[in-house]
Symmetry: C2
């Protein structure tokens, strides 16, 4: 059970964008430089966050990415599920209806009790991540960090390397 | 984020073994027939449950697998982690220390706040599964099921097909 490596990238990039001045943007190249990431692949992943409404993208010479909602309205769950989807890691293939022990279909109208417990655990994971916003993350950073972040982004060329 | 397909197999096989009479066993071939699963691969996976102490294996012509502990002491978490390991699905590669925005090492003595929240969610998932035992699962089955299970296992050849 593994999340994609890019999950870490996007959690950090979204946190970085949450530290910019209102209306300011950072390009994929700037974010890639900030964390030493492969810019083309990062750009593709950032578009997934745009599709999820977590980020907004603007075009043009000053274009780039910014949060699509206030930091208090972006949860870690939204970011993680934009990267990896919302499917449960447990897949029930209904083996209870197969083989010599197969239960008749009429006894399988309800979700298998084992699958139900696995889905409950996934919901506990989702609830945990849905309870943390980017505003919570920013509140946990040392006071000096946001100004440092803005200064580094501003000092990085906006165009691809 | 996906659990192996065999997670479903082993949750069901352990539940099946929990329904046998005390001391009774079922062979890998019997369990494979019960759920129409590939016997050699299932046997390998059952050994992982033996290593985790969830099952015990006996050899000889009447040999096979039985629970290694009472059903009330086997949790779904133990079964799932015997199959897939206990690692968090989120891997922190410390990108906060890389690139133009790299934080100095002395500012990274504590776990990254984003990683910490991801680990908390994994712990919520683990707690949920650690709270469900095979005894709980059996308690949710219709009363007629355990006798049916025992009868089907008893009517299946013990040796490989």
């Amino acid at each position: 059970m593994k999340l994609p490596v890019s999950t870490e990238w996007l959690l950090h990039c979204a946190s970085t964008l949450a530290q910019l001045d209102p209306g300011a943007t950072a390009s994929a190249a700037q974010l890639a430089d900030y964390y030493d990431l492969p810019a083309p692949y990062l750009a593709k992943q950032l578009q997934a966050l745009v599709r999820a409404g977590v980020l907004a993208a603007t075009t043009g010479p000053r274009g780039g990415f910014r949060l699509g909602r206030p930091p208090g309205e972006v949860t870690l769950l939204q970011i993680v599920e934009a990267v990896d989807g919302a499917a449960s890691p447990y897949e029930c293939r209904e083996i209870r209806m197969r083989g010599r022990g197969a239960l008749p279909e009429e006894d399988c109208q309800e979700t298998c009790v084992l699958a139900a417990k696995m889905y409950e655990a996934h919901e506990a994971w989702r609830r945990s991540l849905a309870g943390v916003t980017l505003a919570d993350i920013l509140a946990g950073l040392p006071d000096t960090i946001p100004a440092r972040t803005r200064s580094i982004i501003a000092g990085t060329p906006r165009a691809p390397r």
